[in-house]
């Protein structure tokens, strides 16, 4: 019984939140990593692309809610995701046409593109705030919990509760489907293969008749989809606030680099590594150990390795260590 209590406490406060957060980071990191692999620069505007796509989805959700459409226990926002993706796609394709294509034609160095993407980031930043404002927006509806802590306690008779939010479950399921689709696309379809070929060697790909503009367009479309899905899932799970999305950029980049930037598998692994290190290493083990240990050995202190102040430091220490010993990331990505 005590063992079960300990496990449930751990699951409730570490495993479930970290899995959901990790899935959101993984989806974001996938977008970053794809752009790095194919367009060859680190896209600093990714967080704000997420914010923009989510904003479109939020507006569409409000429209659907006003029209009386609902998915029952599931959030209405799921229906609005395609609208969000379309909005994000229009924005990134327009940006590519107006800005990035110019630098691509000049064969600008990646570092120039990075700085350009920072400029884009500020423009997106302003656009999003201009339309929806800088405030918190709540657009989640439907059933909040798959199982709430209180219900779980009554059901199992344990002292500890386990809460699983609908949005957390949804995040993991949608992330899984998205990742599966992406890998199927990259490995099995003609367009996906041409993207990988373009990523491996641009000149060879050109010689074998691959249209580079088409590869770029498809890449942006996929990135818009990934960014919007990640953004909507995150917004459903927490809430939508443009500034927070901008700040998401940091853990997302950390995830992509730890995993090995340019490698999609690495992005997913990196997302979970960052999420678990943020939540896990600063966890206070007092409660869990209290259940596991005999009474005489129960800890008095919190048994916390590091104070929660250091949670960001932890993920960046991991980043530094990985780069020191495996400069290409956990999975073999490209060196930066």
């Amino acid at each position: 019984m005590d063992f079960l209590n300990a496990f449930v406490a751990l699951a409730n406060f570490v495993i479930v939140p970290a899995l959901a957060y990790g899935s959101q980071l993984a989806l974001g990191a996938l977008g970053v990593t794809l752009i790095y692999a194919i367009l060859r620069f680190s896209n600093f505007a990714h967080g704000d692309t997420m914010a923009w796509g989510t904003m479109c989805a939020v507006l569409a959700t409000w429209g659907l809610q006003a029209a009386g459409v609902s998915l029952g226990p599931l959030p209405t926002a799921l229906l609005a995701i395609p609208v969000g993706i379309a909005g994000a796609a229009v924005l990134v394709l327009a940006t590519d046409r107006v800005v990035y294509r110019f630098y691509r034609a000049q064969k600008a160095k990646p570092v120039i593109l990075v700085i350009v993407s920072m400029g884009i980031m500020f423009v997106y930043n302003g656009l999003t705030r201009f339309i929806i404002g800088p405030d918190d927006q709540n657009f989640a509806d439907g059933e909040r919990f798959l199982i709430s802590a209180r219900d779980f306690k009554v059901m199992t008779g344990l002292d500890e509760g386990l809460a699983i939010k609908t949005t957390q479950a949804l995040t993991m399921v949608v992330a899984l489907i998205t990742v599966a689709l992406l890998f199927w696309f990259l490995n099995r379809t003609r367009t996906g293969k041409s993207m990988r070929a373009y990523s491996d060697n641009e000149d060879l790909a050109l010689l074998s008749g691959i249209n580079p503009e088409r590869v770029v367009t498809v890449t942006w479309l996929i990135v818009a989809a990934l960014a919007t899905i990640a953004g909507v899932l995150y917004g459903l799970d927490k809430s939508f606030k443009p500034f927070t999305y901008f700040q998401l950029l940091l853990p997302i980049f950390a995830a992509a680099i730890v995993g090995g930037i340019g490698n999609p598998l690495g992005a997913i692994a990196g997302g979970f590594v960052i999420a678990f290190s943020e939540v896990g290493i600063t966890y206070a083990w007092k409660k869990v150990l209290g259940y596991m240990m005999p009474e005489s050995l129960e800890p008095d202190g919190l048994v916390q390795l590091l104070s929660t102040d250091y949670k960001f430091a932890v993920s960046f220490v991991i980043l530094v260590i990985v780069l020191l010993f495996r400069p290409t990331g956990l999975f073999k990505g490209q060196t930066i």
């Binding site: 409730n12 406060f13 970290a18 918190d136 916390q304 929660t308």
Partner: protein
């Protein structure tokens, strides 16, 4: 060189002559920056008080009070110091109504006010650190220190019989100062704080903080943050995981948006918020409305009171000098004397003129304690059926 000196001295001399009867009051607030939406109403309220004094005709013989605005930016200490320096050296102000945010207020006080002997009254700086700062008796505030709110909140918890709590605060001067004050008051009263964990605003995920706080345990979670920032995120995550279901909240958490977002989940939670009620606040609303100033905005009452105190202190001292303001503020703010409400500054000036005593009550029931800061009235509220309900005033 001589010519240049002469040329630059000339306009100064004529300016001095032309405005000999003006006493300039610096209004240093963050007209740009994070609180730029609040400051126009604050400045308007302060200038309202000065205008009222001028119109009464009972102020010092031939002296008119002239407000001079400057931008504190709320966050940039160097810019605020430069702005204040300019007011003192170029405009020759005799007193400062401001500054607003705690950080820049401290900077202006130690870099400009103290070296030049200019008194300042802040309407909105609440950091406890300002209570013990070296001020040569020049610093006052009409906003209460968060140290006081820490005591109030600890008292509320004591009243409810809650003796073990976890604390989370926003990681800045406000949150840290507030949390320290609360911790001191709560442990002194025999309470136990299981863990005090800071949270960063605007971050992606608060599971780590909530996990640690849940392990530490406690009967309630004390949230000293902002309702539209990490404070709400912490409450949301605590509710979701079932870590805590009772919350005690500081003033930054008081907002209708919080109720709208969290709904009935936080019924039964409670908190404190600085509050002005009663005759003074009503009277101020009346006066401000007549003058077209938004009285409902934050810290407008404190701003009106700050400016009024400067004028009354001058009248009491019988001259429009910095020394008169610094020496007489406590005198006019506190008992004994005739109680003075907003809109009655003319009456107050007449009493002072005739050598009488006044007790300025103002819009916020001004009572300056300790080193010259407002005791403050706090509203102790509880959330019932998705609305804030007043339990009592403290």
């Amino acid at each position: 060189m001589k010519k240049w000196l002469l040329a630059s001295a000339l306009p100064l001399a004529t300016a001095g002559a032309a405005y000999a009867d003006d006493a300039k009051i610096g209004v240093i607030l963050g007209f740009t920056g994070p609180i730029e939406s609040l400051t126009p109403s604050m400045a308007g309220s302060a200038e309202l008080a000065l205008a009222e004094v001028n119109e009464s005709g009972n102020f010092l013989e031939n002296v008119t009070l002239v407000p001079v605005r400057a931008d504190s930016t709320c966050i940039d200490s160097a810019a605020a110091t430069a702005a204040a320096e300019r007011l003192v050296t170029t405009d020759g102000i005799v007193a400062i109504m401001g500054a607003d945010c705690s950080g820049v207020t401290g900077a202006v006080l130690s870099n400009v006010a103290v070296p030049n002997g200019v008194p300042m009254i802040s309407p909105s700086a609440t950091s406890p650190a300002l209570s013990s700062v070296e001020d040569n008796g020049l610093f006052f505030r009409t906003a209460p220190s968060d140290a006081r709110q820490g005591e109030v909140l600890a008292g509320i918890l004591g009243e409810r019989g809650i003796s073990s709590v976890a604390v989370t605060y926003t990681n800045n001067d406000y949150g840290k100062g507030f949390a320290d004050a609360f911790e001191a008051a709560f442990t002194a009263a025999g309470g136990e704080i299981t863990l005090a964990a800071p949270h960063e605003d605007g971050k992606a995920d608060y599971s780590a903080e909530v996990g640690a706080l849940a392990s530490a345990g406690g009967d309630a979670l004390v949230v000293l943050g902002y309702s539209d920032q990490g404070g709400k995120g912490m409450i949301q995550a605590s509710l979701d995981t079932g870590a805590f279901d009772l919350f005690a909240m500081g003033d930054g958490m008081y907002s209708d948006a919080l109720l709208a977002d969290l709904g009935s989940d936080i019924d039964g939670s409670f908190g404190s918020v600085p509050w002005a009620e009663g005759e003074g606040a009503d009277k101020f609303a009346e006066v401000a409305e007549a003058a077209g100033v938004n009285a409902e905005s934050t810290y407008t009452r404190e701003s009106y009171d700050a400016a009024a105190l400067i004028a009354l202190a001058m009248a009491k001292g019988g001259e429009s000098s910095s020394a008169a303001v610094a020496a007489n503020i406590l005198d006019v703010a506190n008992a004994p004397g005739e109680p003075i409400l907003p809109g009655e500054l003319g009456k107050a000036l007449e009493i002072l003129k005739n050598g009488g005593d006044i007790d300025y009550v103002g819009a916020t029931n001004v009572e300056l304690i300790g080193p010259g800061e407002a005791a403050g009235t706090y509203r102790y509220y509880e959330i019932k059926d998705g609305a804030f309900e007043t339990v009592s005033f403290k």
